[in-house]
Amino acid sequence: MKTSAVFSALLSLLSLASAASADSKSSSTSTTLPATFKPPQVFKNANLVHVISVEKNYVKENINVLVQNIDKAAQDEYFLPFTADQMSRVGGVEVKDRKDSNAGPFVAEPVEFDQESDIQYLRIRLPKPLAPGAQQTLGISYYLLKAYKPLPASIKQEEPQFLSFSFSAYCPSAYTTTKQKTEVKFPSSTIPDYTKLPGSGDIQEFPQVQGSKLTYGPFDEKPAGATQPVSVRFEFNKPVTHVSHLERDIEVSHWGGNVAFEERYTLYHRGANLSSLFNRVKWQQAQYYQPNSFALKELKFPLRVGSADPYYTDVIGNVSTSKFRSNKREALLEIKPRYPVFGGWKFPFTIGWNSDAKNFLRQTAAGGFVLNVPFLEGPRQSEGVEYEHVQVRVILPEGAENVKYHTAIPAQSINDAAVEVHRTFLDTIGRTALIIKARNLVDDFRDRELVITYDYPLMAALRKPLIVFGSAVAVFVGAWVVGNLELKFDSRKK
């Protein structure tokens, strides 16, 4: 971490940007460029397929693009444009070479050049510069959070919910695109409204409808930055679950041989509001007649096998509506909110559980320790869950040092990572806590691992028992000394 911070600080010094100091503070993974930055026209998109999936309550976009270097020099920076609003909501960017699966995820990082500009760029660094005239197939996937607007914005509780989503039929690109098409996948075939475009070639009219799929295109050559706004409206009779904050604590205890997990969720339903307030009679009747509702009724957490002692509370105490099934094959925690959560409602809650340390912790031959835990273990819902801010705090034992981490979560989503001190149960110097902040993640990333290595010397492990023993002895000795003091003025009666 430190090296990259130093590196970025150096970069910011070298760059010509005026507000270098402010920029270098804001994010360590971004790169600063002059305010007048425009991506050089060194690439051409020979063929582009844009797949937008609105099946879940977040948008997953896949851009498969065949890029060709049209410059005279080898190029290794490909830019992807987003609007400033999108940029704050985009997460989990992963770029791969479609042809070569070994090429690994490429580095994708936001370009910092002008905070005010409406167009922001993501820079994709190709591991090997692309020779002039050469082609490469990039598979870019990312997620957009808070993407939908319910339309109508408020409905009755027994009515189905419709969401609308706006996007560009031409895939936004910083380069000229020769040929492209955009596919939109829906959760069901009920798509009452979508923007129609005049067709080209054999096709009369875009889009083509195939069941629960719309296809705009193929389009012919479009210049860089071309857009064609379209919007779709589709039935989505499931909760639009949005977790604005997730705080996940992982506490490792070597003495107890235990890893304790605790997750605090601030959960919102971003779907349609109720046009007339909640009616229990209708709700109870609907439970029998039409159990499908856009209200959030249940969350299922498939935990790691071996998880034990789960708890589920909120700010006023235990929530009794939960079930925990644990056996050799699964450990499934099913929780219900206290009340069905409708659009615009909020339900913050906390869950936690314990697990045996041997499931997660190994000692290496060199004497250090390796902790391998899932970065994210949210609920698994058919409609998906999106997380705007995630803070993972791994609390290591007191005295742990030399902490390093590695995670399979896309680097673009990691905001910040720091090692801090956390003081709890009879600590003297405090425990080492690794705090990783991430944003714009979705439940597709659950079970991506977080690997932490650290050293934990024997003396650090013995510190607490020795200190507790020492303090107890000190108290007894103190009591004995005080008891032997003669404080009376008059000792006649002795």
């Binding site: 007339s276 307030l277 909640f278 009616n279 229990r280 009679v281 109870q284 909120d314 700010v315 006023i316 105490g317 235990n318 929530v319 009794s320 509506t321 206290r338 009340y339 615009g344 409602w345 909020k346 339900f347 913050p348 003081r423 709890t424 149960f425 009879l426 600590d427 003297t428």
Partner: protein
């Protein structure tokens, strides 16, 4: 109970230190048992604050912990009693919160991260362990037999009369106050016996703590002077009494005046006058004592009479003048109801409406104290046998406590300590008498007496009659085994009562499913959490005052009235809004900026503590302020029945409470089959209609129903006609004539 075999063991173990160690171990075990027996609700449910008042104490403690002591002291709470607010810092007894806060910070300093809620939940059990120790100390002052002390500690630890207010989660002032009460009495006896200023000052210190903790401190304020007065009347005035009393009174009064809520009450109200009077009286006696030693006895007689008569006259005159001039406040209503149990019912319905202010039913004594209640007179009798100064205290306390426990249910709490002490003296005397293994032969009786004397110098034996011994092993074992059985039954009873009667949080209800598994009914928290998460931060909630503290604590929303019933008129306003028709209620609610109205309805589940059952108190309290507008009679049918079915009176059916309780309820049933399971009646086929408010939330089992008060109509219509229009009815012209009054809000 377990003390006795151990006691026998202790006498076998010869050394004094062995017995001391045993005593410490037994006491620790008793303290442990008294804590453990209070944990039923934590084990069965969870670590949760119970009932109503504790929720306020909990909220105040959180405020104290979050904002520090000085902010707490100056706390003006604008989230209760809207729009009046409450000077909370100056109108509460801070002892409880400060105690928890101190424990919290002490643990934090040791880096033990305990949640403040857990401290609050477990404070009462922890202090009950201390109370057991205090009872041991107090009893040890009464009798030389330490087995009596251990028995008293045990009784105190598990007597249901005390457990009722100190189970885990019952975070109320009484939780620490009973410990302080018993410990203050112990210090008082100690001070009195030794005539020691140090013990008197300690007594004053704990008295100050007690004042800071509970309004029941007046019990001490009255009991200590009464004890002193009785001692004086018995001709037992001594310098010991003088030193103990004056030290306690001077320091204790100063300490008590430091609490803002008490302030100058100790010199202004009638409750505190006995203490002041005895203080003055003791000065006179001390003066007379001095004079008697200085002048001849004949002159002293005349001097005495003149002096005493003059002082009494002046004192009485001063008291009458001060009272009538308003310098000394007359007795408060709650105090009057201590003398006349019918007083509150007639004059102050709000006091009478609280179930714990009702007179105690006879079975309650047996329920709360079991066998102690019949051992209690024996113990008092044994005190009469010895009648040293400290025994007089027990006698006075017993009389005083019994009377008040008979008047008000909650004062059973103050009776319990003396019952435990007296019963322990009785049991230990019995055991000491019958548990001696040696049977005395008539000619040896003196010798046996001498040998036994060290262990037990009981009251019965000390009546200088010739030795009356128990000669047969048979009789002894009968007696001892009978007592053992009683003691075992007592433990069983206490456990049973604690488990069944006193361990329900009342926020969470438990029921059994057909397969026998426990099902939790969590409607209160469901609704409170809904309010907390899905309404505006400053949405005002109107509900009956019972739920005020819970709404403040769990839903964190401003309320109109709460359990701190300081403003009767404001409560009556809410009562009026609940018991009047919508036309009358709506302007009241608009004036008070009410956003949501919360009612408790037990009809679906058969839950008895609902608002329809409490409704008559709302009516009565409202009638007390607006006799012209609200009439209790109108809620009863011609035949004087309180009904909610089709036969209910028009006033009842039109009242807001009735409408809110039954609104939409009949839709849950097939037509014509709607039934109120609580009152066991069929409801009319057509349910009530609501025009000025709409249903906002109903909990799973319908226990809590929340309504949103509608804003003014967009078209300027009144809500009745707007709602009628929506239902498709034609506009009635007659409404114009006697149209509902509508509040204009600019």
């Amino acid at each position: 109970m377990s003390a006795d075999p151990l006691q026998a063991l202790a006498s076998a173990g010869k050394g004094e230190s062995t017995r001391g160690l045993l005593r410490v171990i037994i006491l620790a075990l008793i303290a442990g048992a008294s804590i453990a027996s209070r944990l039923f609700s934590v084990i069965r449910f969870e670590s949760i604050i119970h009932e109503f008042d504790p929720w306020f104490n909990f909220r105040a403690t959180k405020y104290l912990v979050a904002n520090g002591f000085y902010n707490f002291w100056d706390w003006f709470d604008d989230r209760t009693w809207h729009p009046l607010g409450r000077v909370t810092g100056g109108t509460l007894y801070p002892g409880l919160m400060v105690t928890s806060g101190a424990i919290y910070h002490a643990l934090r300093a040791l880096t033990i991260p305990v949640d403040i809620r857990n401290i609050c939940v477990l404070l009462a059990p922890a202090f009950s362990g201390l109370t057991a120790v205090a009872a041991y100390l107090l009893t040890n002052e009464m009798t030389p037999s330490s087995s009596a002390g251990l028995l008293a500690a045990l009784f105190m630890g598990i007597a249901p009369g005390y457990i009722s207010r100190s189970v885990a989660g019952s975070y109320d002032n009484e939780a620490i106050a009973i410990f302080l009460l018993v410990f203050t009495f112990y210090l008082w006896i100690k001070a009195l016996k030794q005539g020691s200023m140090l013990w008197g000052a300690l007594c004053a210190l704990f008295y100050g703590y007690m004042v800071a903790s509970w309004g029941g401190y007046a019990f001490i304020t009255c009991l200590l002077p009464l004890h002193s007065f009785v001692l004086i009347c018995m001709g037992r005035y001594s310098t010991r009494l003088y030193v103990a009393y004056t030290t306690w009174y001077a320091l204790g009064t100063l300490a008590s005046m430091q609490i803002p809520f008490v302030g100058f009450l100790p010199v202004k109200t009638s409750e505190h006058m006995p203490a002041l009077g005895i203080f003055g009286f003791l000065q006179l006696l001390a003066f007379l004592d001095y004079v008697r030693s200085a002048i001849p006895s004949r002159q002293f007689q005349t001097f005495l009479w003149l002096f005493a008569g003059g002082t009494f006259g002046i004192g009485l005159l001063g008291l009458v003048i001060a009272t009538s001039a308003g310098v000394i406040a007359p007795w408060s209503g709650r105090f009057y109801s201590l003398w006349d149990t019918g007083y509150a019912k007639i004059h102050i319905p709000i006091i009478a409406s609280v179930s714990e202010h009702q007179p105690t039913a006879w079975p309650a004594f047996f329920f709360d104290l079991n066998m102690l209640i019949w051992l209690f007179p024996v113990g008092v009798y044994l005190c009469f046998q010895q009648l040293a100064d400290e025994h007089v205290f027990i006698v006075v306390y017993a009389l005083f406590g019994s009377y008040f426990a008979g008047v008000m249910v909650r004062l059973m709490l103050t009776l319990t300590p003396v019952v435990c002490v007296a019963a322990a003296i009785a049991v230990s005397t019995l055991l000491d008498t019958y548990l001696s293994t040696k049977s005395p032969k008539p000619e040896e009786s003196q010798a046996v007496e001498g040998a036994e004397g060290k262990k037990a110098k009981s009251g019965l034996k000390s009546t200088s009659k010739p030795m009356v011994g128990v000669y047969s092993i048979w009789g002894k074992s009968m007696m001892v085994s009978a007592l053992a059985v009683y003691l075992l039954l007592f433990v069983l009873h206490c456990t049973w009562v604690t488990s069944n009667a006193y361990s329900s949080p009342s926020v969470v209800l438990a029921s059994r499913l057909p397969d026998g598994s426990q099902h939790i009914i969590d409607d209160y928290r469901e609704a409170y959490q809904w309010l907390r998460q899905n309404t505006r931060e400053d949405a005002k909630i109107m509900s009956w005052w019972d739920y005020g503290y819970q709404i403040g604590g769990m839903a964190d929303r401003p309320t109109l009235v709460d359990n701190n019933t300081w403003n009767n008129t404001h409560i009556a306003t809410v009562g009026k809004a609940m018991s009047s028709s919508e036309e009358v209620s709506y302007p009241i609610m608009r004036q008070h900026e009410v956003d949501y109205v919360l009612v408790v309805f037990g009809g679906l589940l058969g839950y008895s503590g609902d608002d329809i059952n409490k409704f008559l108190w709302m009516v009565r309290i409202a009638e007390g302020i607006w006799p012209d507008e609200v009439s209790e009679r109108a809620f009863f049918t011609q035949r004087g029945e309180y009904r909610v079915d089709a036969e209910a009176t028009e006033t009842m059916k039109n009242s807001l409470m009735y409408k809110m309780s039954y609104y939409n309820y009949n839709n849950l049933f097939p037509p014509g089959k709607a039934v109120d399971r609580m009152r066991g009646v069929h409801l009319p086929e057509v349910g009530p209609t609501l025009s000025t408010m709409e249903e906002a939330f109903t909990s799973e089992n319908w226990i809590i129903r929340i309504y949103k008060v509608k804003d003014l109509d967009n078209l300027g219509r009144d809500h009745m006609s707007a709602a009628a229009f929506d239902r498709g009815q034609k506009k009635k012209k007659a409404t114009k004539k006697r149209g509902p009054r509508l509040l204009r809000v600019d």
